[in-house]
C-alpha cells in the first residue's frame, strides 16, 4: 500500500480527516522549505503538498503566483525540489509528500527520469494542474511503475462522464476543486461542495480532498465535515509572504494557522462521532 493510501486508511480507523497544507518549494527561500515542512507536520499536517515553482501558474491566484515568483528568484528547479524531499525524508519517513505544479518542468526532465528520481527521494504523489486524464497516459504509466500516485483534479464543471475518467486515471486521492476560479479566491460554498462530493463518492471509492478557498479554522472544519481531506494553500502562503524576511515569525504564524485548523477539524469529527 502506498504511503498515501495507508495514511488515509489509518485516519479512517481513527475517524479523523486529513489536513494537507501546501507551500511552494523555495518560498521565501530554498533553505526555508524543509524546515517549514517539518513545522507543518508538527502543527498537525497529515500529508504535505509541495508546490513546484513555475513561471506561468495559470490556475493560481495572486498569492501563489507571487510565491512562485519569490522561489524563482532563487531559480528553484524541479531537481531542487526533489532534493528538498530527500532532505525531509532523512528525518520524516511517514508523512506522504505530494508534488503539485504544472506539467512543463516534468515534461522537460522527462517522465521516466522524474518518476524514478521522485520515487528514490520519497515523493508519494504528483498533481499536475494542467494535465487532464486525456493527455496523461504516458506520465501515469511511468508514475505507476514507480509507485507514485497520480492525483487528478475534479471540478464543479466535471460531468459524470469526466468524473469516471478522472477516477480511473488517478490513485491516492482525488482532489476536488471547490469552485470555479483560481486558488485563493473567496468563493467557497460548502453546500454545493457537499452535493458534488455525493456524486463523486458514487463513482469512486478514492478518498476525496477538497481545496481552493479554505482560509481558516472555520472553513477547514466545515469542509472536513464532508470531505476526507482539507487542502490549504493560499492562506499559508500569505503568511509566508507577510513575514518573508523572518523565518521564525513564518514558523510561528504558519504553525498557529495550521494548528487552529487541525483543532477545529478534530473537534468537528469528535462531535460528529
Amino acid at each position: 500500500m502506498s504511503r498515501i493510501a495507508s495514511c488515509f486508511a489509518e485516519l479512517k480507523t481513527q475517524g479523523r480527516k486529513a489536513l494537507i497544507p501546501y507551500i511552494t518549494a523555495g518560498d521565501p527561500q530554498p533553505q526555508a522549505t524543509v524546515e517549514l515542512m517539518h513545522s507543518l507536520v508538527e502543527a498537525g499536517a497529515d500529508l504535505l503538498e509541495l508546490g513546484v515553482p513555475f513561471s506561468d501558474p495559470m490556475a493560481d491566484g495572486p498569492a501563489i503566483q507571487a510565491a512562485c515568483e519569490r522561489a524563482l528568484v532563487h531559480h528553484v528547479s524541479l531537481h531542487d525540489v526533489l532534493e528538498m524531499v530527500a532532505e525531509f525524508r532523512k528525518i520524516n519517513n511517514h508523512t506522504p509528500v505530494i508534488l503539485m505544479g504544472y506539467l512543463n518542468p516534468v515534461e522537460i526532465m522527462g517522465y521516466k527520469t522524474f518518476a524514478q528520481q521522485a520515487d528514490k527521494v520519497g515523493v508519494d504523489g504528483l498533481l499536475t494542474v494542467d494535465l487532464p486524464p486525456e493527455e496523461s497516459h504516458d506520465l501515469v504509466e511511468e508514475l505507476n511503475q514507480n509507485g507514485i500516485d497520480p492525483i487528478f483534479l475534479a471540478a464543479p464543471t466535471s460531468t459524470a462522464e469526466r468524473l469516471e475518467k478522472i477516477a480511473h486515471a488517478g490513485s491516492g486521492f482525488l482532489y476536488y476543486v471547490s469552485f470555479k476560479g483560481v486558488t485563493g479566491a473567496n468563493a467557497l460554498d460548502v453546500d454545493s461542495v457537499a452535493k458534488k462530493l455525493n456524486q463523486i463518492r458514487q463513482i469512486t471509492p478514492l478518498p476525496v480532498g477538497v481545496g481552493f478557498g479554505i482560509r481558516d479554522a472555520e472553513s477547514a472544519a466545515q469542509i472536513a465535515r464532508v470531505a476526507d481531506a482539507v487542502v490549504v494553500g493560499s492562506a499559508i502562503v500569505k503568511q509566508i509572504a507577510a513575514h518573508a524576511n523572518d523565518m521564525q515569525k513564518i514558523k510561528i504564524e504558519v504553525t498557529k494557522l495550521v494548528g487552529s485548523m487541525r483543532a477545529a477539524m478534530d473537534a468537528m469529527t469528535r462531535q460528529a462521532a
Binding site: P53, D56, M58, Q65, D130, E134, P156, S158, K180
Partner: protein, 408 residues
C-alpha cells in the same frame, strides 16, 4: 531554388486528429475546470461548420463589415528595387480594424452569440486582437474585457485608447514579464472564474484544442483568396509564401490552402529581436524546444528547468514564447521553413516599404517583408512571392519615432 519539400504524407490538411493533436503537438493541457467548457466549445464549433446559416453570416460579415476580399497588390516598384522575384502583398492591413485579427474575432464572436454567452474576454499583445475583439463585442452588444501586459500597454497606447473608445475594459497585467504570455495567463484565470457566461476569444492558433484548428479555419480566408488572386494575376501558383509568426495565425491562414501544393515554398518569420545568439528574441521555432504551455504542446522559449523565459521583440505582436502547434508540426515534417528577422532588419523593411510603395506596415508584418528582401534577390524575375501584409503600421509610429529619437 531549393525548397523544403517532403512527400511523406498524402495530404497536409487532415490534422488535427480528434483529440486536437498535430503529430506530437497540440492537445488540451488545461485545468479540469475548463475541460467541460472546451468540450462545449468544440461541439458548438463543429455544429456551426454544418450550419449553412452560420457560414453565410460569417461570409457576409467578412464581406460587408471587414471589407473582404482584401486585395492582392503587386508591389512593382519594390520588386524592381530588390531585383529578383515579383512580390505580391496580401493586404490584410486594409481590413476593418487594420489587421488580419478581425477575421477570427468575427467568427468567434458569432460563435459566442450562438452559445448564448454575454461576456467576451481576450488577451492582446500588439493590441490588434484586443481592438478586433472590442470591435465585434461593440457590434454584438457584448461586454468585453481585454487583458494586456503593462509593458505592451505602454508601447501600444493608440490601440489601448481605441479599445476603450469601443467600450472594452482594458486590464493591465503586471505579473511575470507583463507581456502577452502573462495576459494569456490572466485571461485563462478570468475564464476559469466566469466560465458560465464568458467566451474566451483567443487571438492566435495556439491554446487548447479546438482553438488552434478553429482560429486557423477562420483565418484560411486569407490563403483561399490569395490562391485565387495570384492565379488571376500571374496565371499560376506562387513560388513562395512569407508571413510573420508570433502565435502564427496570419501565417497559417495564408499557408493552409497551399499546403498540398508541392511547388509552393513557405517561410514563417519569427522575431530574432536583438539576434538569436543574444538570447533576446522571440523565436521558439528557430531557437526553442518542445514543451507544454497555455494548453498545448509546442515549441517554447524555455530554460533547462522548463521555466518559460522572457522574450524580446520590437513588435509586441511577436513577443510571445510559444507558437501554434500546427507550425511546430510543419517545422518538424519540413513542409514549412522557419527563419528569424532581427529588430533592426524589420525596421529597415518598415522604412523601405513605406518609402517605396507608400504603405506603412505593422512592425510584425515588417518581419515578413524583411525576409522577402532577403529572398527575392535570390530568386528569378519570373518567380513570385506572396507576402502577408498582416497589419498596418499606424499603431507602431510611436515605437518607431521613439527608437529614432523623435518626439511626436
Amino acid at each position: 531554388m531549393t525548397v523544403a519539400k517532403k512527400k511523406t504524407q498524402p495530404s497536409f490538411n487532415e490534422l488535427p486528429d480528434e483529440n486536437g493533436h498535430f503529430g506530437r503537438y497540440g492537445g488540451r493541457f488545461v485545468a479540469e475546470t475548463l475541460m467541460q467548457a472546451l468540450d462545449e466549445l468544440e461541439e458548438a464549433y463543429e455544429n456551426s461548420k454544418q450550419d449553412a446559416n452560420f457560414q453565410a453570416e460569417f461570409d457576409r460579415d467578412l464581406a460587408d463589415y471587414v471589407g473582404r476580399p482584401s486585395p492582392l497588390y503587386f508591389a512593382e516598384r519594390w520588386s524592381r528595387e530588390l531585383g529578383g522575384a515579383q512580390i505580391y502583398l496580401k493586404r490584410e492591413d486594409l481590413n476593418h480594424t487594420g489587421a488580419h485579427k478581425v477575421n477570427n474575432t468575427i467568427g468567434q464572436a458569432l460563435l459566442a452569440k450562438r452559445m448564448g454567452k454575454t461576456r467576451i474576454i481576450a488577451e492582446t499583445g500588439a493590441g490588434q486582437h484586443g481592438v478586433a475583439s472590442a470591435t465585434v463585442a461593440a457590434r454584438l452588444g457584448l461586454e468585453c474585457v481585454v487583458y494586456m501586459g503593462a509593458e505592451d500597454i505602454e508601447r501600444q497606447a493608440p490601440n489601448v485608447y481605441r479599445m476603450k473608445l469601443l467600450g472594452a475594459k482594458v486590464v493591465p497585467v503586471t505579473s511575470g514579464s507583463a507581456t502577452l504570455k502573462d495576459a494569456l495567463n490572466e485571461a485563462m484565470r478570468d475564464w476559469v472564474t466566469n466560465i458560465d457566461n464568458t467566451f474566451y476569444i483567443i487571438g492566435t492558433v495556439a491554446g487548447p484544442h479546438p482553438y488552434p484548428e478553429m482560429v486557423r479555419n477562420f483565418q484560411t480566408v486569407i490563403g483561399r483568396e490569395a490562391r485565387e488572386q495570384i492565379q488571376r494575376h500571374t496565371g499560376r501558383l506562387p513560388d513562395a509564401l512569407i508571413a510573420c509568426v508570433g502565435g502564427g495565425s496570419n501565417a497559417i491562414g495564408l499557408f493552409y490552402p497551399f499546403l498540398n501544393d508541392d511547388s509552393v515554398a513557405m517561410y514563417g518569420v519569427e522575431a530574432a529581436g536583438e539576434g538569436l545568439n543574444t538570447g533576446h528574441h522571440a523565436a521558439p521555432l528557430c531557437a526553442g524546444s518542445p514543451g507544454v504551455l497555455h494548453g498545448n504542446r509546442t515549441y517554447l522559449m524555455e530554460d533547462k528547468d522548463g521555466q518559460i523565459i522572457p522574450t524580446h521583440s520590437i513588435s509586441a505582436g511577436l513577443d510571445y514564447p510559444g507558437v501554434g502547434p500546427e507550425h511546430a508540426w510543419l517545422k518538424d515534417i519540413g513542409r514549412a521553413k522557419y527563419v528569424a528577422i532581427s529588430d533592426d532588419e524589420a525596421m529597415t523593411a518598415f522604412h523601405s516599404l513605406t518609402r517605396i510603395e507608400g504603405i506603412i506596415p505593422a512592425l510584425e508584418s515588417s518581419h515578413a517583408l524583411s525576409y522577402a528582401m532577403k529572398l527575392a534577390p535570390q530568386m528569378k524575375q519570373d518567380e513570385t512571392i506572396v507576402v502577408n501584409l498582416s497589419g498596418r503600421g499606424d499603431k507602431d509610429i510611436n515605437t518607431v519615432a521613439k527608437l529614432e529619437g523623435i518626439q511626436l
